[in-house]
């Protein structure tokens, strides 16, 4: 064919038509059918959602669990449960991985090697394992100790009664114990239960050390309230959050203002704010200042005038640029008192000093001045348990209690230790020597934990419990939502066939009965005890009980909705004891730091691992820390400029040395940390158990508790875990940090506003439109 101009044009025309045709057909062509689009592609079978409780990892959340063909598939917040209202913490899904964890102990184990060696052989429950348990209980029950996680509800009651009936003691274990906080709440409000905070309706929250958006208190509940506090519909103004904290915590990161105060001086700042409020007459209407100060008024706190206190707080000068630190404190007091309802709350490191109880007393007393005690937008108090036989607060040992237990173990007076889901060997300061105390030939240790950990590794006999998704139980959440709640835990799946765990509660009950203790523990099983008390709840005829017409129906309803509650049975609002402020001021003492070194050591609970109880769960290990984005490793945060000055770069391995010991950690230069603070999370440093917890390089997995001397206590005998100074010594080694953040400094690089990723506005008017939820 010859290419003439004529047929060139013809071809060109044809291809143009073809192109247009293609474009027309494109629509059809692009309407792809995805298999995902087709409902038929969803697997057959029904899924059911069961309501239950979220277990230890979540700290009292109610959850619903999706179950399909006998397997649990998803855990999420129970929309009906008063504590978390369908929302969940980052830890909530942990239960699923605990349930199907490859390293679960499948059945009873008897120690064969030396204690702590981890050498065990499998034995049968009947008769071998139970015979040994009976024998040892009979022989050694006097002065025995039963160590559990903090337990409430029926299991708490059963554990308590069991230990007492056996002639021993039950103690709950918590690494960062709340005993000092609890004592301060008692001192200031005369309450035995921890309070709830109505942040959703507050206009100003002044938080001292409490990392309540991450791990402190009912953090999920408070986070939901925080969302409303910022952008809730129909609020008069957007809430203001001020975080007073020597560490740049997650809560500090979200605060409108962050005051990096000298550790342990929180109480002084709080009293100084009180002084300004009284002196300037900023207290809420109706607040009787004279009663609080024994008639002295501002004079009672004269020593705490901002001008006197400011120097000891060591606030950085750039913070109050253009004015003095004292003026800055005065302004803070005016802001706080001027934006009612306002809440002052405190915890975490603020209460973990030798003067921790004083700090927290002074902080909480501020609530009286701004009139937020028992008021909307203020502090709400929790009522006692709906059933008298059930404890509403877990019995948790203070450091003093643990020293006593260790002494009894060492002296041979206690010859039997029963342990359930608690790891004091890992969680107590190494100087307590708890591991050593357990390492005695005349001691018999039984662990009921479904997973190996430092304490279980010391056991003679391991009788694995069911995990919470397989077992009955209940909980009285603490801190509660301000009214009576009894959460219900039900088995949502059966244990897999290759596992043979037995319920710890049921085992305690049957052992007690075999030992002739039917009177104290008459029930055949935890479920039976629950059923009996559901009847008692029904007879109360209030709250959830009024929605049904029989105890059986109440049982079913509780299983469906996840528990029983009565919104009208709230806690009592206390009134202040006369001269409260005078007494607190009189108790003031500066913090006493043990150890020599340039840095204040601030340990903190890990956002997902907490104190290490979740360290065996890969999802929890792999969640980036919100601030540093580090996963799987132990790090130490050091002020970025300070690190540069010390020639330390990210990933440099340093030895943190205290007077009590030393650990290694990877340096993370943090642009937001006071230059004299070193912050390290708890949670790693496990040496026994699942490979997920122990498999890494030992140099990058350390337990900060190994640094703490047991000698430093708060006024109430709690561990003063924030009261130490440490040295950082470069080892010369360097490891790659396994963080989610990329390799370059994450700062916004935008030049034009179109390129900004996180846009900000100073205005409040622009919050219009629906706010949702």
């Amino acid at each position: 064919m010859k290419l003439t101009r004529r047929n060139f044009l013809a071809w060109a025309g044809l291809s143009a038509v073809g192109a247009v045709a293609c474009d027309v057909f494109q629509e059809e062509e692009l309407s792809l059918q995805s298999p995902r689009d087709l409902p038929e592609d969803l697997v057959k079978g029904r899924d059911n959602w069961y309501a239950t409780l979220g277990g230890q990892a979540t700290g009292g959340e109610g959850v619903i669990v999706r179950v399909m063909e006998g397997r649990a598939k998803k855990v999420q917040g129970n929309p009906k449960y008063p504590v978390n209202r369908g929302k969940q913490s980052v830890r909530a899904e942990a239960g699923l991985q605990a349930l199907y964890h490859p390293d679960r102990i499948s059945g009873p184990l008897l120690r064969t090697g030396p204690r702590g060696s981890g050498q065990y052989r499998a034995i049968a429950w009947e008769p071998a394992a139970l015979d040994i348990l009976r024998r040892e209980l009979n022989a050694r029950r006097e002065n025995m100790v039963l160590i559990t996680e903090p337990l409430r509800g029926h299991l708490g009651m059963i554990a308590e009664r069991f230990a007492t009936a056996m002639g021993g003691q039950h103690l709950g274990f918590e690494t960062l114990d709340q005993t000092t906080y609890r004592a301060a709440v008692k001192d200031v409000f005369d309450q035995d239960l921890l309070p709830d905070f109505d942040i959703a309706n507050a206009n100003f929250v002044l938080s001292f050390g409490a990392d309540f958006l991450s791990t402190w208190g009912a953090s999920t509940r408070l986070a939901t309230a925080y969302g409303e506090f910022r952008q809730g519909a129909g609020r008069p103004e957007r809430g203001t959050l001020v975080q007073v904290d020597p560490r740049f915590s997650m809560t500090a990161a979200n605060a409108d203002r962050w005051l990096p105060i000298k550790p342990g001086t929180e109480g002084y700042l709080a009293l100084s704010l009180a002084q300004v409020i009284i002196e300037e007459g900023l207290q809420a209407p109706g607040v009787d200042v004279n009663a609080l100060t024994d008639g002295q008024g501002a004079a009672a706190l004269n020593a705490y005038r901002p001008e006197a206190i400011a120097p000891m707080l060591e606030l950085p000068a750039q913070l109050h640029a253009g004015r003095t630190a004292a003026e800055y404190i005065r302004e803070l007091a005016r802001d706080f008192a001027g934006h009612r309802p306002a809440i002052a709350l405190g915890g975490d490191s603020a209460g973990a000093h030798t003067n921790g109880r004083f700090n927290l007393q002074a902080v909480y007393a501020l609530n009286y001045l701004v009139g937020s005690v028992g008021q909307p937008g203020g502090i709400r108090f929790n009522p006692s348990s709906p059933l008298r036989n059930l404890p509403a607060a877990a019995k948790v040992g203070s450091l003093q209690d643990w020293m006593d237990v260790a002494d009894r173990l060492r002296s041979g007076r206690t010859r039997l230790a029963l342990i359930h889901d608690a790891d004091p060997v890992h969680g107590l300061p190494a100087t307590v020597g708890f591991g050593g105390a357990l390492n005695r030939d005349d001691l018999f240790i039984v662990s009921f934990s479904p997973f190996m950990d430092e304490t279980t590794a010391m056991a003679d006999l391991i009788l694995p419990d069911r995990v919470f998704l397989e077992d009955w139980g209940d909980d009285i959440p603490e801190p509660g939502p301000g009214y009576q709640v009894l959460g219900m835990q039900q088995p949502v799946v059966n244990p897999l066939s290759d596992l043979d765990p037995r319920s710890f509660g049921d085992l305690l009950l049957s052992m007690a009965q075999e030992m002739g203790q039917e009177s104290a523990l008459p029930w055949p099983s935890v479920e039976a005890a629950l059923r009996e008390d559901v009847e008692a709840l029904y007879n109360l005829n209030r709250g959830t009980s009024r929605e049904v017409d029989s105890a059986g129906a109440l049982w079913n309803l509780m299983l469906q909705q996840g528990g029983w509650w009565d919104e009208r049975r709230t806690g009592q609002t206390p009134s202040p004891a006369g001269g409260l402020l005078n007494r607190i001021a009189a108790a003031a003492a500066p913090p006493d730091f043990s150890g020599r070194g340039e840095f204040y050591l601030l340990p903190f609970a890990h956002n997902s691992l907490l104190d290490g109880r979740n360290a065996h769960l890969p999802w929890m290990q792999a969640v980036p820390d919100p601030i540093t984005t580090i996963t799987w490793q132990t790090w130490v945060e050091v002020n970025a400029d300070k690190a540069a000055e010390m020639n330390l770069r990210e990933g440099d391995l340093v030895r943190i040395e205290s007077d009590a010991g030393s650990i290694t950690a990877l340096v993370y230069p943090n642009p937001a940390l006071p230059p004299n603070v070193a912050a390290t999370p708890l949670g790693q440093g496990r040496r026994h158990g699942s490979a997920y917890a122990t498999g890494g390089d030992a140099r990058e997995s350390s337990n900060v508790m190994d640094l703490l001397p047991a000698g430093a206590r708060t006024e109430s005998g709690g561990l003063a875990w924030a009261g130490h100074k440490v040295r950082l010594v470069a080892t010369g080694e360097s490891l790659k940090v396994s963080k989610f953040e990329g390799h370059f400094p994450a700062r916004e690089i935008a030049i034009t506003s179109g390129e900004e990723i996180i846009k900000t506005t100073t205005g409040e008017a622009s919050t219009g439109g629906a706010s949702g939820h």
């Binding site: 293609c22 690089i749 935008a750 030049i751």
Partner: protein, 458 residues
């Protein structure tokens, strides 16, 4: 204008068929070493396909790395063939004659090698059929014609087809010579390949017309191939330093730069290996050097413009990538090496006539260009991904893994091996073209074209 002595056709046949009819002592050891390298690479690819691309150094922002760099590099090399054969043929540049065959064959082999790269770089190479071919009639899903990744294979396969035709047409007269010089199986094969070539006037006329036509037809393909490869990047709106309008001409000129340098180096190698001093002469290398000065300078202009335009916008994310290229170790070092090796070293060496005629210096210059051009592709592809977009939170660095280094290294062995094997079967310097060149010195005019005065071999 031609240098060197006039050779008889018998001498030409003997010399140029030496590579086929005799086996040099170094030949089999070299082939064995190359074979081992290829075997190692084949094992590496096997492991990679079996275990997943996790064995590479690629990561979240940097999803393309060494393999794609190497792909673009070999596509670039493949531009030598057409440049020398087609353009110079149409331009009637006499000095092209000994270089054409090597250039065309290099084109073929580098294209084939290049095509391996995107295949092994995919996550599921065993599924790429429906990427290239519209086979999935049942669901009516055809390859997505909107993506450069479909334009790419179309352009490359077209280029491969036309280059193959080009080589075969040019080889026919030489096959006939081989047919006449061999016995046994080889004879029968060459007989088949010679397609009854007798060297009569009609055959010569057809052969020459076909060559000229193909030269003209292949030119647009030549321009489009590297333009389209450049659009793999230019069309990517989300990578700041890729999304650039200047890429098509910039890539094409760069390809000619690296391709012609590579051909020059191959010619020097052949001259050494097979003792073809009389055919690949200083004047040829000299001419290539002069051509390269022009190409290099054109390329350099585009480079400067590319950088200038990019910086002129002063967009934060673009500046961030440039910052990485210019200031961040090791990219800054590589950047300096890249500019110096691609432009300054070779162009300075090519400026002197004496140096252009020194084969050692020419070799250094040509290798230098190709080191630089490889780095150029790397520095285009990787930094744009390392500091991608304004999400500085996700920026992460990239370093190749041993797997990538081995596989990329082996592509050089593969091309070398293919060239060597080819040289054992077909003449790498076209006999008839050289003869034609010699004869043409007599300047016999027939009609509108100059054609050889004799029609028969002896």
């Amino acid at each position: 204008m031609q240098e060197g002595r006039t050779l008889s056709t018998r001498e030409i046949n003997r010399d140029l068929l030496r590579s086929i009819l005799e086996s040099p002592r170094w030949f089999w050891p070299v082939v064995t070493v190359l074979g081992i390298i290829l075997l190692v690479a084949a094992i590496a690819i096997g492991i990679m396909v079996n275990r997943g691309l996790g064995v590479t150094g690629l990561n979240r922002p940097v999803a393309w790395g060494f393999f794609i760099t190497n792909f673009v590099f070999w596509i670039g090399i493949s531009h030598a063939g057409v440049m020398l054969s087609a353009i110079l043929r149409l331009a009637k540049a006499e000095w092209r004659r000994p270089a054409t065959r090597a250039a065309e064959v290099l084109t073929l082999f580098s294209l084939m090698t290049a095509m391996i790269m995107p295949i092994v770089h995919t996550g599921r190479p065993w599924r790429i059929l429906y990427w290239v071919f519209p086979y999935d009639f049942a669901r009516g899903i055809w390859p997505n014609i909107r993506t450069p990744l479909v334009w790419d294979p179309s352009a490359i396969l077209t280029y491969l087809t036309s280059s193959t035709l080009f080589v075969i047409i040019a080889l026919i007269p030489d096959f006939a010579v081989l047919r006449d010089h061999t016995t046994g199986v080889a004879h029968r094969v060459y007989t088949l390949l010679a397609m009854g070539w007798e060297g009569n006037a009609r055959q010569w006329k057809l052969q020459i017309t076909a060559g000229v036509l193909l030269s003209a037809l292949i030119l647009p393909v030549f321009v489009s191939v590297h333009s389209i490869v450049s659009w793999d990047f230019g069309m990517a709106v989300a990578v700041k330093t890729w999304h650039s309008t200047v890429f098509a001409p910039y890539f094409v000129v760069g390809a000619v730069h690296s391709g012609v340098s590579a051909v020059a180096f191959v010619l020097i190698l052949l001259r050494w290996c097979y003792g073809w001093q009389d055919y690949i002469r200083h004047e040829h290398i000299d001419a290539l050097g002069r051509l390269l000065i022009v190409v290099a300078t054109g390329w350099f202009y585009f480079l400067i413009m590319e950088l200038l335009f990019g910086m002129y916008g002063r967009e934060a994310d673009e500046l961030a990538v440039r910052g990485l290229q210019f200031t961040q170790w090791p990219y800054n070092a590589w950047f300096i090496v890249f500019v110096v090796t691609t432009y300054f070293i070779p162009v300075i060496l090519w400026l002197s006539r004496a140096w252009r005629r020194n084969l050692w210096i020419m070799s250094i210059a040509c290798i230098s260009v190709n080191i630089g051009m490889w780095l150029e592709r790397f520095l285009i592809i990787v930094p744009g991904l390392v500091n991608k977009q304004v999400f500085s939170f996700t920026w992460a660095d990239y370093a190749p893994s041993p797997f990538e280094i081995i596989i990329v290294g082996a592509t050089f062995a593969l091309v070398t091996m293919l060239m060597l094997l080819f040289s054992r079967v077909f003449p790498l310097v076209p006999l008839y073209d050289v003869k034609e060149g010699d004869i043409l010195k007599t300047e016999v005019k027939v009609g509108r074209r100059t054609v050889p005065a004799t029609f028969r071999e002896d």
